[in-house]
Symmetry: D2
Subunit: 301 residues, 4 copies
């Protein structure tokens, strides 16, 4: 099942050791201006090897859009979507299969090699395949185009590194300067914490090891009522999307697991005030959106 989404739908394909990674976006609205530089900048953010912190392998990922866009007006205008499916590919660089000869007889720990072998019956010792992190290229391209579409509706999505090992950026997101996420290699908006994260990663890397982390995100500008009850709830679909990314082990929204220790009266307070304000001001959408993007849409009865 390599398709995700309903109205805006990505079908993804490609292995790390094949010819290309790509996808098809079906349902993108027609008439959306496509900013290729933005898509490329998102691909560059995804790419490992940009700094001394990550693996050194250099990948120059260039997207080629094969369909679903045209210059408008025809012959010289800017690129726009046409309403038809957007096919795209990113070619893989030539891989030297001999680099993987030492993996010929082992299943790597914490990798999906063994599972793929048992499920499909073919062994590709070069590993990775669809379980390679390169698979996320398709998500990044589709996500970039989705961001362009959402931007027109005033919806903005931001994500950053909140924790690496035990180094955490614990301030509430409203206290962070999200314009500084791209200022450092670890994508943490707090420059002091970012420095500590970098040092930890370098230390762990020096020991030939790896370390885990937590990504935080906020969506602003959502209209009230996004998502479809009961199985298409926004946070349920977000959880599925996030946990379909390799190596992701957990998802929480709003207060998440921290809320377990709280009383209902503590959690309800904030909500009560907001809904009161909404009724008084008849001007709810902006604040409601924020609340929703923080994903505190809880019901208990």
């Amino acid at each position: 099942m390599n398709t995700f989404g309903t109205l805006f739908r990505l079908t993804s394909f490609g292995e790390s050791h094949g010819a290309a990674i790509g996808g098809v976006i079906d349902g993108c609205p027609a008439g959306l201006e496509i900013d290729l530089d933005f898509i490329q900048s998102e691909l560059d953010r995804r790419r490992p090897g940009q700094s001394r912190l990550t693996t050194a392998r250099q990948e120059g990922d260039r997207v080629e859009i094969l369909s679903g866009v045209m210059e408008f007006p025809a012959g010289g205008g800017k690129l726009h979507t046409t309403g038809t499916p957007i096919g795209f590919i990113v070619r893989n660089q030539n891989q030297h299969s001999s680099d993987y000869d030492d993996l010929r007889d082992v299943f790597r720990p914490s990798h999906a090699d063994y599972t793929y072998y048992m499920k499909y019956g073919l062994r590709d010792h070069r590993g990775g395949g669809r379980s390679s992190a390169r698979e996320t290229i398709s998500r990044v391209v589709a996500g970039a185009i989705a961001k362009l579409a959402l931007r027109q509706l005033g919806i903005d999505i931001k994500a950053w590194t909140q924790q690496v090992g035990d180094i955490a950026c614990e301030r509430d997101w409203t206290k962070l300067d999200l314009s500084r996420i791209e200022d450092n290699a670890v994508h943490c908006p707090d420059p002091v914490i970012a420095q500590q994260m970098e040092e930890l990663i370098l230390q762990v890397k020096g020991e030939g090891d790896t370390i885990g982390g937590i990504i935080a995100g906020v969506i602003t500008g959502c209209p009230v009522g996004l998502g479809e009850p009961v199985f298409g709830k926004l946070h349920a679909q977000l959880a599925a999307a996030m946990l379909s990314i390799n190596a992701v082990k957990g998802f929480e929204y709003g207060d998440g697991f921290a809320g377990v220790s709280q009383r209902g009266s503590e959690q309800n307070d904030k909500f009560k005030v907001e809904s009161l304000k909404l009724k008084v001001d008849n001007n709810s959408s902006e604040q409601e959106d924020t609340r929703l993007s923080q994903s505190q849409l809880s019901t208990f009865n």
Copy 2:
């Protein structure tokens, strides 16, 4: 979007203040013996009001199966599925609408009343509707039938209360006696912790308040390779299912968020040993399954 699943698929309907809650199960294998007592016992477990710990409202939920089953052999045999869709309903008890008159002019905090009103444009002050906990009746019936089908494949699903407020049952699940989950009203397999949980809930209830909790679960007997890459990964679909339940705020599996502080070498070790064992013993499924399926889901109400 009130349909969940691909091969075994539940479509759910029903409001807490309507005539009935029900659903349609499509894709259930033919020839499965249907144990109505088991389905009813699962419904009874779901039902609030069984003990002094929860709300006092008494609900006697009886399922009626309308299609998809027949006595086999015809005329006197046991009930079996036929391969056709299984329609079922659970009637709601008569509700006194006047009970809700004090809600006529308010949107309840931490409820979905406001969101439903904004999304659909109709106001039902009796609240609840699809966002009532009664909606889970359909899930319980479909889940019970799924358990009957999985039991034939040697797959078993168990879940219990792991934490209430700050009272946690922290032992590894392999150290717990899961046969004792039903021994107490809080469904915690550790009787001492269960006692503490009960006391906390009664205390909070006495204060007119509520408290959160964490549910843990384990699935044993899974074959290697369940789920479909990349968007249909088993844990991604589980996350979507769990977060589509009212009031659930987070999902993690395996080590979950706790793994963030660990080094790759710590996490890999275990896996390496397992996969080594697998290769040596050619007897991998049970241990692999366990690793794959250990999921912890949080819900608080």
Copy 3:
């Protein structure tokens, strides 16, 4: 696969010899007034045994809507949809299983008994099951509600009997008085042809036999561009819907098979004139709609 549709989606269940036939409509817009009398009148149209022409078995099919509707304003207002899934059932009358004892050892010709038996492995000699014509009850209820929704958009659907055996009503639909479809038992708008059809059916019935027929339909008021290229084309989805009805063997739209003998120049002429008019008048929608409802949206290159 007992679900049809995307935005407005029917999931159907129920066997002719089970407790009830029913369904779930997901995606119906909120705030639609539900005219129960209209739904019942559509069910009555479907019901056999209304006249001497069809089988004598009397069925009094009464629909019960279980969810997805409420009185609005609450407590006395008219029934409206709420945006949540609409569950409904029609109870089957008590069936005497002994009536079917002579079928215990045979598979009926032109029935699906044998196929069901081979596919699902259970034998129900009372036959029918999901392949009974009673399965269409769910379609009729969902279709009636769809008609109510489409009526608000100015879209109207009409269907009638165009041919029985060799007796055909061959006039173009624009020459027929479609208000007279319900005037006779065979649902043919031409009273003279209707009389001949009735006579043929009675004669064939007297011989203990049955005879085939053709249904024609027209949809007026469609906006330009309904349906989704390339696999969701309106006529492709209509064909799937029609051929999923028991005993339907063919589907054509526009000129259909008759167009095979025509030259492109004959067929193009009409279209050219229309599109010319559209450009000149800048008032295309109504005429285009008609053209679309006749389903002549052909492209050839």
Copy 4:
């Protein structure tokens, strides 16, 4: 909606005037040997311009498979599917946009230009786009791979031209030598009729006109019970697939519309004998299949 199928699923993209036509096949079984020559031969069959009968434009369509296959054993073995999605593209030749300048101000009759323009709001006077016959390239590639998979199960699909204008090949398919379908440019297994069809097409072409036709097909080797009741019936899905092809106006299977004039007793006889044979011989699948799969599809261009 550019995705078709459930277990074996094609997502298609590409315009006639864009960079490439392509698709993604999801769900193809792993371990299937991929015969590139066969896929190419199917693409060649699709390609117009092979003879004096069709339009002269030469297209050399070469498929490039981008994912989902590997040499097995790795490094020198034959190409096999891996179970992951198969992405593929066929590059379009460079098109000279100026060729279409005379279409800048007109909507072509019997084309979808106007409908696309109204639906999506962008005007591409070069026309075609997704409604070009080149869109079928994706279907042919996916169909060729499906044929390779079905061949392993003993299922075979054959189609041929049954009628062009009024020239029809009316013999029952069991009387035709289907090995001769490729012997002539019109793909008709009867050489005498084929000659007449060719002459008619050349004559019509000489008059600057076009003519319609009917394609017939037969699927042999189907197991009993293919397809899923009630909306996933095999013939219903076939009808949707066929009518989603440009310019197709009708679909019938079995006796189709011709059966309307027949009595039930005439139609049942054959079936009764078959089902009797099935019970007696316990050897039903081949004949049953044939009956089930005889479908006649019309297309004219």
